[in-house]
Symmetry: C2
């Protein structure tokens, strides 16, 4: 009797509306595929910060370490500065659990319209693999002459060989499981002259470790251009923390909506639980209205089930979600449909 | 009798094919508008590096300091590493002449097709203003434990108040000359926690200095998405060295072609000559074939004439270029036309 314990952190804003839909959908496929999920609800959020002065309890990381995985909605709310909300919850989860692989599939789904002219399903189907714990997102740095005209801010970017090699290896291994078996590396070694040439060297070394995988390399500037001009060129795209962040918003935009993009923050060693979160944020503008699109949360749940070792259940969930997207009466308004969050969720349950 | 002395550096690859077209076109409008240009040809390039071991002579910067401006084709050639070609020519020109404002107009022109569905001329008309001498492009940094498994690379990003304020001021002043009077700031203060919050503070301060200009601010990830989803939102977009670099390739891609995008590297104080270069590179794949698109070089020449104080001549040149783009027989193949570089250049001369 397979049973998974999953920490559920709806977080802020629409996170609280879409996570319940994802849970219900996951429970439904679990039922169909002969396993069960014990959800451990956690109220970690900006609301909790307002109440207690902390986004999560001091032993928060220890609490989630006991779970099989973490299902997170969205973090951030107006009035709570990002360095509090994000660096008090999202970033520590990524770092303290060593979730070094941020995996973000980009697929143009039936029922969703790409802003790119003449592009169909076959043209946009790739995965952005983002280094998730080092690089440009660094707490090393500070200010000089604060508040004076001589003020300066410095920020250290740090890439380690272990850190770069393991994310490149993850990207190559992922490529091997895909029909096209191709990895594109995002670089900027012509401008960022210390860290990026190092990244390129490690990419060269990774190629040697993974024969049989096709490769390409672009500077980040032209790479963003090529996402728009030639999305069909890409299969697995690997980038640093910052470049991966950029590409995994731009990619979903090219595929029609950031509102449906899922992501997995993985610790591929499985020594610690991995975390799964939609790419979208807490969306204060539409939060509380019941109109948020739950598709990203559902797709994210599918990625989680797949990683937990339930690939069949994941497939069922993805298929249900894709079926629902083709029906305008079941799609939410951001996708030109008429459904609200609940109705879209009901349609998914029905499709399961 | 107005006369301008312009250093002409065709550089590498297609730079050598498009710069002559730009010069001829500039001479033609100069003639019509009652001034003249003395071109000072300089062979600074990867070829020169192969011959002499240097991209430019040791007194290169002093040589160009005597000119009114610099007209540059493209820098870089396979076999010569970027740290030699770019950091031996392009970057020192930008830095030693304090060309802190990199200005890159993005406009969807008649005759050019946008990859974005349903977008026309009215939807894409903005300018990317890029900080050009500090920030992420830094020589500060290096390696630890080189060549071992403990290897790490570090790179320091440095923003100064003077550096940030002056580029923001440039962006706001530019916005004031445009009908929409709006500035969008590219940030990433939720992830890059030392330099980017500083950038945001300076943007707040700049708003106060420039009342009457509308503003917006986006994190770079969602900003790239919005270039694709809502290009009509943007008027002047200001970003750091790296973010500006990315946005000024993505923007032209959305406007149909990087092959036609111009750029100005400005020292707005005019104490030193400014430099003008197409956004495109040396394009080794098509170099020497006579098929390169000279439109970027011509548009770049127009920006140069405008900055030199010849706005009427600049307008004539831009109009000629735009007229030529509407004629498939005068457009180059990358734009679906049939012309080669020469034929396109002749058409521009005729239109002038
Ligand atoms: C060639 C490279 C160093 C350069 C840059 O990144 O500045 C180029 O991409 C540009 O945009 O002018
Ligand atoms: C909210 C922010 C810190 C975060 C990031 O940049 O990592 C987000 O953009 C993401 O992509 O998950």
């Amino acid at each position: 009797n397979r049973r998974y314990v999953i920490a559920s952190i709806p977080g802020d804003g629409i996170g609280k509306e879409v996570i319940p839909v994802g849970q219900e959908a996951a429970d439904a496929v679990a039922d169909r595929h002969g396993f069960s999920i014990e959800w451990r609800p956690l109220d970690w959020s900006c609301e909790r910060y307002d109440r207690t002065g902390r986004m999560m309890p001091e032993d928060g990381i220890d609490q989630v370490k006991e779970c099989d995985s973490i299902y997170l909605g969205a973090v951030g709310w107006p009035g709570v500065p990002d360095h509090v909300s994000l660096w008090g919850l999202l970033i520590p989860l990524r770092r303290d659990l060593d979730l070094y692989a941020n995996v973000r599939p980009v697929r143009l789904l039936e029922g969703v319209t790409s802003p790119l002219a003449g592009r169909g399903k076959a043209d946009i189907d790739f995965v952005v693999v983002r280094e998730n714990v080092e690089g440009e997102y660094s707490e090393i740095g500070g200010r000089l002459y604060r508040g004076t005209e001589h003020e300066a801010a410095v920020q250290e970017t740090v890439f380690t060989r272990r850190g770069v090699d393991r994310i490149l290896d993850y990207a190559f291994e992922l490529a091997k499981t895909r029909p096209r078996k191709h990895v594109t590396s995002a670089t900027k070694s012509n401008g960022i002259v210390h860290t990026m040439p190092f990244w390129d060297e490690r990419f060269e070394a990774a190629k040697q470790r993974h024969p049989g995988v096709g490769t390409a390399q672009f500077h980040i500037d032209i790479l963003t251009a090529n996402f728009v001009l030639h999305p069909d060129w890409f299969d697995v795209v690997v980038g640093s923390n910052l470049f991966g962040d950029i590409l995994s918003d731009l990619g979903p935009a090219c595929a029609g909506s950031i509102g449906i993009a899922p992501s997995a923050n993985l610790n591929p060693s499985r020594a610690l639980p991995s975390m799964f979160e939609p790419v979208h944020g807490s969306a204060p503008d539409i939060a509380g209205k019941g109109v948020a699109n739950p598709i990203a949360a559902v797709w994210t749940a599918a990625m989680m089930l797949d990683f937990l070792g339930e690939p069949e259940a994941a497939k069922t969930l993805e298929k249900a979600m894709e079926a629902v997207l083709t029906d305008p009466a079941a799609r939410t308004r951001d996708l030109g449909g008429t459904a609200d969050t609940k109705a879209c969720g009901q349609a998914i349950l029905k499709a399961i």
